[in-house]
Structures are given as C-alpha cells and as structure tokens.
C-alpha cells in the first residue's frame, strides 16, 4: 500500500503508441501488494506489452481467480473488461467468455496456488482446449496471502522463511504444459523486462493458449537465502535458452542478427514473426521433445530455463477452429441468428424422437 495515489502528471517526452496513448493510459488502480512484489513488475511489463501492441484497452478482458497474483488484474488497464472468478476457476470462465466473444484479447493471470493446486485440473483442460488466451502464472513458490507456506511449485530442498526445507516434489508448469500439448510455452522472470515484454507480446498474438510461467519473487515470504525463487537466486541460476524478439506484422524485418548463426524465425498465425535472437546450441524452439529434454535437464542441474521455450507458429487446434464456430463473435450476432426460433427447435427435437 502506498499513502497516496499516483499523481496524474506525465513526463513530456513520454512516447505515444499507434492509438495516440501513452503507457499511463494503460494503468489501473494503485497496487495494494507488498512493496517490491514481483507481480507489480509483471503488471508493468503487461502495460508495456499491451501499449506496444496498440491494443485498445476496451478490447481486452482481464481474467483471474484468487490470490496475490489474481489481484494483479486490477492494477492495469482500468478501462478493460474483467472477471475475478472463484479460486482456480478462471480457465473455464475464460473459455466461456472467449466462446461468446472471440473479438476480445484475453489475458488470464494466475499464480502457483491458483493454477497448480486448486485449479490444476482447470489449467490442464484449458490447455487441451487450446483456448486463445495469454495465461500468465506469477510463480513465487509460496502461498504469500496466507503467510508463506510452500506452494506446489516449491523446489525440493528450498527453505521457508523460518528455515524448514520443502520435501515434496514440485509441479513444473512448463513441463506440464509441454506434456499436455500446449502450443506456446515460455518461462521468464519479473526482474528481466527486456526478456519478458517480447514474450508477452508474442503470447498475446498467439493463435491459441499461450502459457508463460513468470518467476515473480515474493519479497515478504520467499526472497531469503535458501529460497530458489528469490531475486538473487533467479538472477544467478537463470539460463536463457531461447531469447525471442516479437516482430509484429506491420514492421519490416531486418536481418542484422542473421549472421550470428543459430537464428530461428517462427511465423505466427497472423503473419507476425517471432525471431530468436540467440538460442542455446542445437536448441530448436519448435521441437516439443527437445524442449522438454532441455528444460528437464536444466531443472536437474538446479538451473532455471527461461525464454520462449516452445511454440507452434501455425497452430490449427485453437478452440474456435476446432469447433468450427462462426467467425462473428456471438455478442455481435442478431437475435434471430442466435435463436433460430421454435420451429427450428421442434425440427431438431424431432431428430431425437
């Protein structure tokens, strides 16, 4: 909590995006999270990503469940739609919203508790359904809102603030998503916006479910020696396997980094391109098996694999595609098209008699 609201004054040299808006226009309410919380940095990165992509704030929907992470949606784009669901049930609410209005940009924000404990089943099925949404897990390894118990993502051997070590195996959302067939899987760090922002942008433009696991340290309960999700530990053990730049469709693509070798470009559904600036030797971000192996290998060495780890550029299994729904969002259909009338109903019912 801060004592005052953010003053409305802007810096005169603040740039404007294609809509004539500054980043200040993408802000939300004042954060009530602890000072220094990683989640606030993720919020700032999201503001930058939405602003850089020229997304009109009123054309986005912010979805969340319960937890510190789920409060984040209140802190950016105050003009956007939103839904704060029951604990762990954000994925199905988003699936429903997306089914009804596919014209909005969906951003779901969850945490390691909301997604990997109470909402684990929901997450799995949203991945299977390939709902078009950016799914951000703000992962800090603890239940911060209930004073710092280990969460399902806490590593074996990492210690709580009072010293006891965790003994249960963690659930790694990246490995989970890879095994479930997710079409866009990334891991990043709240303290590294240079890496996080392009990944968020690519995820927002992905045609399907884009999962980003963001290590977002809890300054109050998990930023001490012995934590494997602290600012310091993450900085010291981060291995950026696949650094990506997002090149939107309308920008000309330059070749300046081509000569460095190992440059991979992946064309997305709408013609935008994700260009991998640097990747670990022999790493192929479009090979699911290789991605799994690499991430698992890092975990075994105590390293944190970050970057845009896997993506299927031209994914054709997105929910609407798979279900052959109409192109027009349901909210825009006329009543007669949405509800064909009693005669049609009777005809349909007749088929079952």
């Amino acid at each position: 909590m801060t004592s005052i609201a953010k003053p409305p004054v802007k810096h005169p040299s603040l740039r404007k995006n294609g809509l004539g808006l500054t980043t200040r226009d993408y802000e939300g309410a004042m954060s009530t999270l602890c000072a220094g919380c990683g989640h606030d940095s993720v919020t700032a990165a999201l503001i930058t990503a939405f602003w850089e992509l020229d997304v009109p704030p009123h054309k986005a929907a912010k979805m969340s469940g319960i937890g510190c992470s789920s409060k984040t949606t209140a802190y950016f784009m105050k003009q956007s739609h939103g839904f704060n669901s029951v604990h762990g049930r954000m994925p199905s609410v988003t699936s429903g919203a997306n089914a009804a209005n596919r014209s909005l940009t969906y951003i779901g924000i969850s945490g390691d508790g909301d997604s990997l404990s109470i909402g684990l089943g929901q997450l799995c099925h949203a991945i299977r359904r390939n709902v078009q949404m950016l799914y951000v897990i703000e992962n800090n390894g603890v239940y911060g809102l209930t004073k710092g118990q280990f969460s399902a993502s806490a590593d074996v051997g990492s210690t709580a603030k009072r010293g006891e070590a965790n003994q249960m195996q963690p659930i790694d959302p990246v490995l989970l998503a890879l095994t479930l067939g997710a079409t866009f899987v990334a891991r990043s760090f709240s303290g590294d916006k240079a890496q996080l922002v392009p990944i968020l942008k690519a995820g927002l433009r992905h045609n399907g479910f884009a999962l980003i696991d963001v290590i977002s340290p809890c300054v109050s309960f998990n930023d001490h020696e012995g934590s494997t999700k602290s600012y310091k530990y993450t900085r010291e053990h981060e291995v950026e396997i696949a650094a990506a730049d997002f090149v939107p469709l309308r920008k000309e693509i330059s070749q300046e980094q081509g000569a460095a070798g190992g440059l991979t470009s992946v064309t997305m559904h709408d013609g935008s391109i994700v260009r991998f600036r640097k990747t670990a030797a022999d790493y192929n971000p479009t090979d699911r098996g290789a991605a799994y192996t690499h991430v698992k290998h890092c975990i075994d060495k105590g390293e944190v694999a970050t970057g845009l780890l896997f993506m299927e550029g031209g994914s054709q299994t997105e929910m609407h595609t798979l279900n052959k729904t109409v192109k027009t969002p349901l909210v825009d259909l006329a009543h007669k098209d949405l509800c064909p009338g009693n005669a049609q109903l009777q005809e349909l019912m007749g088929e079952y008699r």
């Binding site: 801060t2 004592s3 004054v9 940095s41 303290g191 900085r235």
Partner: protein, 599 residues
C-alpha cells in the same frame, strides 16, 4: 562508463531545488513555504530574512528568478507564486522584535563605512554589525532605502514596509548619516576606516540624444524616468500632462507609466524598440501595466521630438521590422510616423556615476566602460580595503542580487579585517535527514495537489488611480495561501539512493508517475540520457547515476527534470534503498560561517 554521482557534494541536491538554485541569495523556499502551510508565519519570515534580509520588500518587488526556475512550471505550466507567498509571511508574522538581531554585546573596534543606504549596504550592515563592527552608512538624501524607496512607487511598496525592515537593521546600532553625499573617496579614506563598501547604485538615468531633446518647453515636459519617479516620491511632482509617452520597456518604464496614470495622464503609451520577447520588463509587471489600460507599442525607434510654437506636440518614430539571424536582429524601416503627446518620460536604462572617486588613489577603472575593476567573487577592488556591491559593482541588476552582493562583501570585509585572505571563501554545507516518520508517512505533504496557480486580487482600477499611495496588490487570502503552498513540490525533500541495498525489483521504476527512473547498463552520460524510459532531453537538469548495482552490475539512473518528489519510489522500495531525505543548504554568512556537515 559514467562516474557515479557524488551526492555528498551539496551542489547536486542544491541544484535539484530549482528555486533555491535560481535565487541569487539561495533562499530556502520549500522550507519557508512549508512553514507558511503550518501557519508558522514568524518562523517563515525569519528563515527568509536570514538569506534575503527584506522579505516584506522582496515579497512585493522581487524580480523573482526563482519562479521561472520552479519545477512546477515545467509540470503544469505555472510556477508556484513564491514571491507573493513570501509577502504572506511578512504580512502575518506578528511581533518578531525579540528574534531580530540585537546590538552586539562587544564592539570589535573595527570601523566600516558604507556609501549609500540601499539594499546592498544595508545587507553589509546587517551581517557585520552583530560581529561588533562599528558601521556608518553615508546617504546623500534625507531618506533610507535607496532606489527601493524613491524608484519603486508606493502603490507597489508601501513606505511602512520599507521602514520596518530597514529599521530592524539600523536598530542594531548602525549609524546612518543623512544628507552626507560622498564627494571625494580620497577624503573618505583619509578618515581611517578599516574598510569602505560602495553601495551607491547606478543613480544616473540614460539620456536620449535625438533632435529636439532640449527645445521649447522640453525642460518641463521631458523627464528622465528614475529622476521623475524620485520627484514624485519626494512630492516635487504631483501631476503630469494628459498624453504621455514612455520610451523604453524595462521595469522602470512600467513604474513610470503606472505612476503617470495616477498623476492625471489619460493616454499613456509605452514605446519599445523591439518585439515583446525582447522586453526587459518582467512579464507580471507588463501584465499589471496592461491591466491599467496602458498601450504597449512595439518596434518603434524614436527619431525626434516634435514641437509646435515651442510646445511639445508629439514624437517622431520609425516603425521597424526585425529579422532574427543567429541570435542577432537586424531592422528595416517600414515608415516614419508621429505619435502625438505632450510629455515624454525616458526610461531606457541607468548608468553608474563615479566622478567622486579620484582615479589616482589606487582604485583601478577599466578603460572601456570606466567602471571600477571589482573581483566577481570577493567584491574587492584593486584598493584592498574598498569593496563594491549592488548596482555600483557591475551596473544595474535588482534588489535580490544587491542583497547577495552585500552578503559576499560582508564575508570579504570580515576576512580582510581579520587579516585572512579574502579569496578563502567559507564553504557551503548541507544537512540531509530522512523525512520518514512512519510506515508510509513523511514529514511533508507528498501528495500532488492539482490546484491551479492562485491569482492575486488587485484593488479596483477606480480606487487605485485616486492616489499613488494606494497599494494595488491586496495579498493572498488565507484560502488562496493554503492552496498555493500545496502546489509546491517540496523539491528539497530529495530522493536519496543507497545502491548496496537495491535488489533490482523494479518497483520504483514501475511506480514513478513521471518515469524519472531507469535501471540500465552503464554508459556515458550522453548515451544514458537517450536510453532512459523517458529520455532526459532537458540538458539544464542533471541526471543521477548510481554505482553498479549488487546483483546485475547495471546502474540506477534518475532524471531530475520532472521528479514530483511524491515519494512513491521510497514507499514502494522493499529495502529502503530509496529514501526521501530533507536537504538543507548551509549557507555561510559573515556572522555565521557554515561548517559542512558530513552526510
């Protein structure tokens, strides 16, 4: 790589306090505004008095270099009304007699003569008398205050304000000799003073040598501005003709035109040689004149005075068109025209007059301007016991500069009399104390107040034209004062960074409303300025660069330009790497040499 900013040098934080940095006397503006906000008018007045000696006078007449410098002007276009708030403190201070300087308990046996009883001499007296100096002021007229009294009309500066503040100095036992024009420096020096200070101003109004200057009734109707204002002040002049032209557009011209209005002139025009952006008058004085229905005529160069039957009937001008190139203007004459008038006041500048200083007594004069050679820092002339200050030193400036000259000259005189080198200037110091008083509570009001600048209420036109003695500005109401002080951004509550504590969580960067902060890889300053979240394009404002941060070796960079001092960076910082600290510049005076305080 850039060198980390050295914030233990008082200059870095001092420069952040734009008003204080811009004030020649370095008045602690934010602190006195906070005192006003807390209703501590006497304390506010005394804090002012320490640096600028004449808060009541300056609160009405200062050239206010602080206001164009004020950060609030960059933030919402209008600076804080610093000057008029100073007047509020002076108006409401109550009885402060017991806090004013007292006659010294011990005399030190040194005798100092001050020539002229204007602001610079009075400041020297103010600073030296408490140390036990025997101070004698030699004044050629029979009133004190110099140009503050007889050139600034009473409707802007009532005489009782002058008397009160001047008497506060004289009452410490300063000897003031009226009607004592110094006609020979040589004779004065022979009287054996330990030091002599020349604060005699620039008392000679400039002439306009065009045809007809001395013809017909010119002696009665063509006046030199400052002499005419003096004539009005001393009661020798009580009326003026109906159609008056003022030549020149400085602040004296503004005083002349407004005074003319009060002495019966119906049609007053101020004639300027160039366009408005070249006017020397302060914008607010121009505004006040125009409010009194005075015409300001641009781009007219005077050519000659026109008479009919020995009576002035007009003045001929060339109307000019100016073209600017490389900062230099060249003009083309468009036409010649005559503007009818029956009186002209010349207000085109002032000159010094040193005919009473013999040129063979060791005081060196430059050959070009025939001005004494005076050291810029020490105010010492080539004759070691003679010092100059105010307009007498380097030509016309303003009251607040005269006050600062007085402070510096007093330090020099004291050093000189103590047989210490005058070039050994006592250092500026600083205090820096955390403003944190609770979890998220600060010792100042950190919230940004969106109020617009408050407008000064003026006496109705009909009323003010009745007499030169009716004060025009009525002062701020308590409500206006309360709003205006809250517009101050408290720039002296500095953002202080401790690099070793930073965990690079970005919380400060993300919360800063004006995007002042960036954590980035180190580089040269020019390069860093372009790489900030909001590029630092205002080169007059410094950037702060930290040492390498513990985790990534990047640096914290702060562009000071648009910082609102709202303290949100410090409130969001989990490790207190950012703190809000109250900066106090410790200014050395002859009577209280500062000792730099370690941070």
């Amino acid at each position: 790589m850039s060198t980390p900013t050295n914030v233990s040098d008082p200059r870095h934080y001092h420069k952040v306090v734009d008003c204080q940095w811009g004030c020649p006397a370095h008045t602690n503006v934010p602190e006195y505004l906070r005192l006003i906000a807390n209703g501590k008018y006497a304390e506010s007045y005394l804090l002012n008095r320490e640096s600028n000696v004449f808060p009541g006078i300056l609160g009405r007449t200062c050239d206010r270099p602080c206001e164009p410098a004020c950060r609030r002007g960059r933030v919402d276009g209008k600076p804080v009304a610093i000057c008029r708030l100073k007047r509020v403190a002076a108006d409401l201070k109550g009885d402060i007699t017991e806090f004013l300087p007292k006659p010294p308990s011990l005399e030190n046996g040194k005798r100092v003569a001050l020539i002229g009883c204007g602001p610079s001499s009075l400041t020297v007296a103010n600073d030296l008398r408490p140390l036990g100096y025997s101070v004698t002021i030699l004044e050629k007229r029979d009133q004190s205050g110099g140009l503050m009294r007889w050139n600034i009309p009473a409707f802007r500066l009532p005489p009782q304000v002058l008397d009160e503040e001047i008497n506060a100095i004289l009452d410490t036992g300063v000897e003031l000799k009226y009607n004592s024009a110094v006609t020979s420096m040589k004779a004065l020096l022979a009287e054996g003073y330990d030091a002599v200070f020349v604060g005699s101003g620039a008392p000679k109004g400039k002439e306009l040598d065009v045809p007809g200057r001395h013809e017909g009734n010119s002696n009665d109707v063509i006046h030199i501005g400052i002499e005419w204002l003096g004539g009005v002040h001393f009661g020798h002049i009580e009326k003026i003709e109906e159609k008056v032209l003022i030549i020149g557009v400085g602040n004296t011209a503004m005083d002349c035109c407004r005074t003319a209005k009060r002495l019966g002139a119906k049609d007053v025009k101020v004639i300027a040689r160039r366009g408005r952006k070249h006017f020397k008058a302060s914008p607010w004085e121009l505004e006040d004149a125009e409010e009194e229905l005075i015409d300001i005529v641009e781009n007219h160069a005077p050519k000659r005075f026109v008479y009919e039957k020995g009576k002035l009937v007009g003045m001929e001008f060339e109307r000019l068109e100016w073209t600017e190139k490389d900062g230099k203007g060249t003009s083309k004459v468009l036409e010649t025209l005559t503007i009818p008038c029956d009186s002209v006041i010349l207000a085109i500048g002032q000159d010094n007059a040193f005919e009473w200083v013999e040129r063979d007594i060791g005081i060196e004069f430059d050959t070009k301007w025939d001005m004494p050679v005076v050291d810029k820092a020490t105010h010492q002339s080539s004759l070691k016991n003679v010092f100059f200050g105010g307009d007498a030193a380097w030509g016309p400036a303003n009251i607040i500069w005269a006050v600062e000259h007085g402070h510096q000259a007093a330090i020099s005189i004291h050093q000189y009399c103590e047989k210490l080198p005058v070039t050994d200037r006592p250092a500026y110091g600083m205090n820096l104390v955390s403003a944190k008083v609770g979890m998220h509570a600060w010792s100042y009001s950190n919230d940004y107040n969106t109020s617009p600048r408050q407008k000064m209420t003026h006496e109705a036109l009909v009323e003010r034209f009745k007499s030169v003695h009716t004060e025009v500005e009525l002062g701020f109401t308590p409500e206006q004062t309360a709003r205006e002080v809250e517009r101050c951004l408290n720039c002296d509550i500095e953002t202080h960074f401790t690099d070793t504590l930073c965990i690079e969580c970005d919380a400060c960067v993300d919360i800063c409303p004006t995007n002042c902060l960036t954590i980035t890889t180190d580089g040269a300053e020019d390069d860093l300025r372009t790489r900030l979240i909001a590029p630092a394009l205002n080169m007059t404002q410094d950037i702060y660069v930290s040492a390498a941060l513990p985790q990534t070796k990047r640096v914290m960079v702060k562009d000071e330009d648009m910082c609102l001092h709202c303290g949100l960076c410090a409130e969001r910082c989990p490790t207190a790497a950012w703190d809000m600290r109250k900066f106090e510049l410790v200014v050395p005076y002859a009577f209280a040499k500062s000792e730099a305080v370690a941070v």
